[in-house]
């Protein structure tokens, strides 16, 4: 049975600032790359297998006792070439930290914050699941799911899509999600963790921030 921590972190009602991030979906919509549920599905699949796998692997690695947060922070920075995405990850990590401090007070969070006052979101997820006694696979599952649930919700809001169809598209990713979690939880040293590239997501994250200064973007990322 999943831990309450993992369920809470994955809940769209968790007050951790996730609702203002679209994971590149808003930029994709603005460029006409995602127009409906049919092309949302491949967007989510690509995101899950790249950004989702990276997030899952680092969440899993952060969930073990005495996790090397400093090394993990640096390694995750190195795997996130777009400054906009590093910022988005730290913004979400900082936002979730605020909620985590109240719900799961622990010296583990002090150690995490000592490394960086704005921790990467996957490390925060892993630390919370780990300090709650959850196994690394649960942290990976949570982080991988969040990598697609946020963009899916953003698609409903931006495009007015049928929420049942979008929900079904997320659920249809189940087998891929399981495979991502399995890959993410293979024991490795931090420097050997997965590093899949998603150059289009990187470029769109940068473009999102750039365009916000001229047009309008409703999401932070």
């Amino acid at each position: 049975m999943p831990s309450l921590a993992a369920l809470t972190l994955a809940d769209a009602r968790f007050p951790g600032g996730g609702h203002v991030h679209s994971g590149g979906l808003e930029e994709a919509v603005a460029r006409g790359l995602v127009t409906g549920t049919a092309d949302l599905a491949p967007f989510l699949l690509g995101r899950l297998r790249t950004a989702g796998l990276t997030a899952a692997a680092f969440a899993a690695a952060a969930a073990v006792p005495d996790a090397p947060f400093g090394l993990l922070d640096a390694e995750l920075d190195a795997r996130t070439p777009a400054v906009a995405q590093r910022e988005a990850s730290r913004a979400q990590g900082r936002a979730a930290l605020r909620a985590a401090r109240v719900a799961w007070p622990s010296p583990v969070l002090d150690v995490l914050v000592a490394v960086h006052p704005r921790p990467h979101h996957p490390l925060l997820v892993g630390a919370v699941v780990g300090l709650s006694g959850g196994p690394p696979a649960e942290a990976a599952h949570c982080a991988a799911y969040l990598s697609v649930s946020g963009p899916a919700s953003a698609a409903v809001r931006l495009l007015g899509l049928d929420p049942f169809a979008v929900n079904a598209a997320v659920v249809a990713l189940g087998p891929v999600l399981d495979a991502v979690v399995a890959e993410a939880t293979v024991p490795r040293r931090p420097e050997r963790l997965p590093a899949p590239g998603a150059p289009v997501l990187d470029l769109m994250a940068q473009a999102h921030v750039h365009h916000h200064r001229e047009q309008v973007r409703l999401f932070v990322s």
Partner: protein, 223 residues
């Protein structure tokens, strides 16, 4: 100067040691009811007397911030805008982190703020600020939105610490019965105050500014 909250460059302002938390007052209400105009009026009226900053949640993010900058009532660095992911009510009620981050950024930047006004994006009658975000809240409706609005109720109308009925100069033009509006408002709100105002007649929003000053003193006295 950019108001872009996604700016990834470091904040150029040297952080100041906070001298205590600023009083936070939320200003909510439907689209077009005059929230930003009220914020601008309060900034003009109180800017000399209080150390003031503003967080805006406009759906279009920088619209209100740009308005406040253009009307030159506040230095640009005293206005922060937050993006709300199409959900202005979520950002002030269910998940307030983006707004708290913006307030804390302003507090770190200036260190000695007396008051932060948090202006919500225009929303519907059910929107209300979380008590975790603000100390007091003002709900703004206007006569042009229909004189039945106070009667419809909703948590903003019934529970806000102050209800402002705005644009009363327009009442004869839109066929709104101001007496009905204020009577309904008092009936829905019991003892809670109601101020009817026109920023055309009184650009300084005198009555609201006085209420705000009293609230700042009252919240400070509790700390």
């Amino acid at each position: 100067m950019s108001f872009d909250p996604t700016e990834s460059e470091p904040d150029l302002h040297v952080p100041v040691e906070p001298r205590g938390r600023a009083v936070r007052i939320g200003i909510g209400g439907p689209v077009g009811s005059g929230k930003t105009a009220l914020v601008a009026a309060l900034a003009r009226a109180l800017g000399e007397r209080l150390r003031l900053a503003v967080v805006t949640n406009d759906i279009y993010t920088t619209e209100d911030a740009d308005f406040l900058r253009r009307s030159a009532v506040l230095a640009p660095e005293r206005v922060e805008a937050v993006q709300t992911g199409c959900c202005p009510h979520t950002a002030i009620r269910d998940d307030i982190t983006a707004n708290l981050d913006a307030i804390e950024l302003l507090e770190e930047r200036f260190g000695d703020l007396d008051l932060v006004l948090v202006e919500s994006g225009g929303d519907n009658l059910t929107a209300v600020f979380s008590r975790g975000l603000v100390d007091r809240q003002i709900f703004v409706v206007d006569v042009a939105g229909g004189d039945k609005v106070p009667r419809k109720g909703g948590p903003g109308v019934t529970t806000a610490d102050l209800l402002v009925i705005n644009k009363i100069d327009l009442a004869p033009l839109v066929g709104a019965d101001l007496d009905v509006m204020t009577a309904d408002a008092h009936r829905m709100r019991g003892e809670l105050p109601v101020i009817a105002q026109s920023l055309v007649a009184d650009p300084a929003a005198t009555a609201v500014a006085e209420w705000v000053l009293a609230q700042v003193a009252a919240v400070r006295a509790l700390v």
